[in-house]
């Protein structure tokens, strides 16, 4: 009989924890290939551990034991992949995350660029639309600047005369000119020259000849210019009378030979703008050169006539719309308005307009500053 102490000591072993059995140990135990001591240790653990005893039950069934080994290979592979290759996996994961972040950034920038381009195109489109809308007013400017001499001229009539032949479409111009001429002659009280039926060239040519026929206070006429212009006019008239209608149309499209001479002569002969001689010069130039004046030109000419007649207020009414427009008569109309206001005794208004002209720094700047200093 064993003593109580040895029993207690042995029984305490029953509560001593033992490691769970490995697969190999289980297989050894099932195959009874274990030493007696180790076998007893395993059995002690089996009593204590439900996990290992259940596993042993499975090991004792051959079909389940066969199923266990491939299953275990899969499980081990999964565990190793998930846990033991963690640093490598982390690196891979980080690389993937970085790539994803880069892709996101690229996508964002692409979206921003897309919107940016859309905005740019929209702006360009609106700009182009505005440009097209403002094109007719701007298109005439280069022609004026080309026709003007280096010093610039104060006479808008000559400007018109020099630029008009360059305009591309003569057909609508003839109608416009014809109506304008009719209005002009009606206002001036003169009868328009009779043109033969069907001959459009006559309709076109008559208004410039009729325009200066309005009663104008004529101071000393510029004899040299008249000499230069008169033979050319005479020649044209002779050609018109002799040439067939088709040829006359051709001559209509060609610019007159005297046009470039006039603006060059003007600044030298008449540098100082004066109240009296301004309309006269315009009239003389219109007489000989301007073949197809526009509506603005007609209004300007009418204003000049009114100025010549001393009807300053009516002249201002005619000039005001021209000065408001940004066309080629804008600056000269302003200048003439200043002249009118000066004549009306409204020097303050005249000064303001002249200052504006000087500020605009255009072709009329010099004349405007001279008149301003005179005021």
């Amino acid at each position: 009989m064993q003593t109580a102490s040895t029993i207690a000591e042995q029984l305490l072993n029953a509560f001593t924890p033992v490691h769970c059995l490995s697969q190999q140990q289980l297989l050894q135990y099932v195959g009874q290939k274990m030493p007696a001591v180790e076998q007893h240790m395993v059995e002690q653990h089996l009593v204590d551990c439900p996990l290992c005893s259940t596993a042993l039950e499975v090991m004792l069934q051959p079909e389940k034991q066969a199923a266990l080994s491939p299953l275990l290979q899969e499980v081990h592979a999964k565990i190793r992949f998930r846990y033991q290759t963690a640093p490598e996996q982390k690196k891979r994961h980080q690389a993937i995350q970085q790539k994803a972040r880069l892709i996101k950034k690229e996508q964002k920038t692409e979206v921003f660029l897309k919107y940016g381009w859309i905005i740019v195109f929209a702006l360009i489109g609106t700009g182009f639309a505005f440009w097209i809308a403002s094109r007719p007013a701007v298109a005439t400017r280069p022609a004026v600047s080309e026709a003007l001499p280096a010093g610039g001229t104060a006479d808008p009539a000559t400007e018109a005369a020099t630029t008009l032949p360059e305009q591309p479409d003569p057909a609508p111009k003839t109608n416009l000119v014809a109506t304008a001429a009719r209005r002009n002659t009606e206002s001036a009280g003169n009868k328009p020259t009779k043109a033969p039926a069907g001959d459009t060239s006559h309709v076109v040519r008559t208004p410039p000849a009729a325009l200066p026929a309005a009663p104008v206070k004529k101071p000393a006429p510029d004899s040299s210019r008249q000499k230069a212009v008169a033979p050319a006019v005479k020649r044209e008239e002779e050609q018109r009378q002799t040439a067939p209608p088709g040829k006359q149309d051709d001559s209509l499209q060609r610019p007159p030979a005297t046009t470039p001479q006039h603006p060059r002569e003007k600044p030298a002969s008449n540098p100082k703008p004066s109240l009296v001689n301004q309309p006269e010069i315009a009239g003389s130039s219109e007489k000989s050169i301007a073949p197809s004046p526009s509506l603005d030109e007609m209004a300007y000419t009418r204003a000049k006539k009114l100025m010549g007649q001393g009807d300053w207020k009516a002249a201002v009414d005619q000039l005001e719309p021209l000065s408001r427009n940004s066309g080629r008569f804008h600056e000269t109309a302003n200048y003439q308005m200043a002249v009118c206001y000066k004549a009306m005794g409204r020097k303050g208004k005249a000064r303001r307009i002249l200052k504006n002209i000087v500020k605009e720094n255009g072709n009329m700047k010099e004349q405007a500053s001279q008149l301003l200093s005179a005021l």
Binding site: I7, H19, V47, C49, L51, V58, L68, K78
Partner: protein
């Protein structure tokens, strides 16, 4: 690094994980118990897909528990989780088949309770003396005379599994009596 971790015991690995979350240590522990988890899953489930599912769920739950809980007896925890997952899968499959869910089959071999710490020797001896003579003989043959289960089965005319279950029940009884006396 992995090799040095492999040489550590469960207790050391659990301490390491407790100090700071160690992915590799968790992996080694899971690998160490994977064959037992797989065996438990195979024991309760017939379908291979269900077995795989149960193993997957058990490993996942264990990973969470190891990171968040203090586990003293890992084998018991593993067994608890594995059986629970198997029972859940069994119930789910039975629900899908339209059968009424039934409790787990009586295959559970574990009867004994938790044995966190052994009771004092005096109480243990006293409790041993209070056991039935047949039970005392079983314990004496197995623990003191170190007889194998197969020999005991032959002696008593039963199977080794029956002897194992009996010894487990007597051991549990002994533990409870010693524990109540202390």
């Amino acid at each position: 690094m992995a090799q040095s971790l492999r040489n550590l015991s469960d207790k050391e690995l659990l301490l390491r994980i407790e100090r700071a979350p160690d992915h590799e240590a968790i992996g080694i522990l899971l690998e160490r118990y994977s064959h037992l988890i797989a065996a438990v899953s195979l024991f309760y489930l017939k379908d291979r897909d269900n077995v795989n599912k149960a193993i997957e769920k058990t490993l996942h739950q264990l990973n969470i528990d190891l990171q968040n809980r203090k586990i003293t007896q890992l084998n018991r925890r593993v067994y608890h989780i594995a059986t629970r997952q198997c029972m859940q899968i069994l119930q789910e499959s039975r629900n899908l088949e339209g059968k009424t869910p039934q409790p787990a089959t009586g295959k559970n071999l574990f009867i004994g309770g938790r044995t966190d710490a052994a009771p004092p020797a005096a109480q243990l001896t006293a409790a041993f003396r209070r056991l039935a003579p047949e039970d005392q003989e079983y314990l004496q043959d197995f623990y003191l005379n170190r007889q194998p289960l197969a020999a005991l089965a032959r002696k008593n005319g039963t199977t080794a599994r029956q002897v194992l279950i009996k010894i487990r029940r007597i051991r549990q009884q002994l533990f409870e009596q010693a524990d109540s006396a202390s």
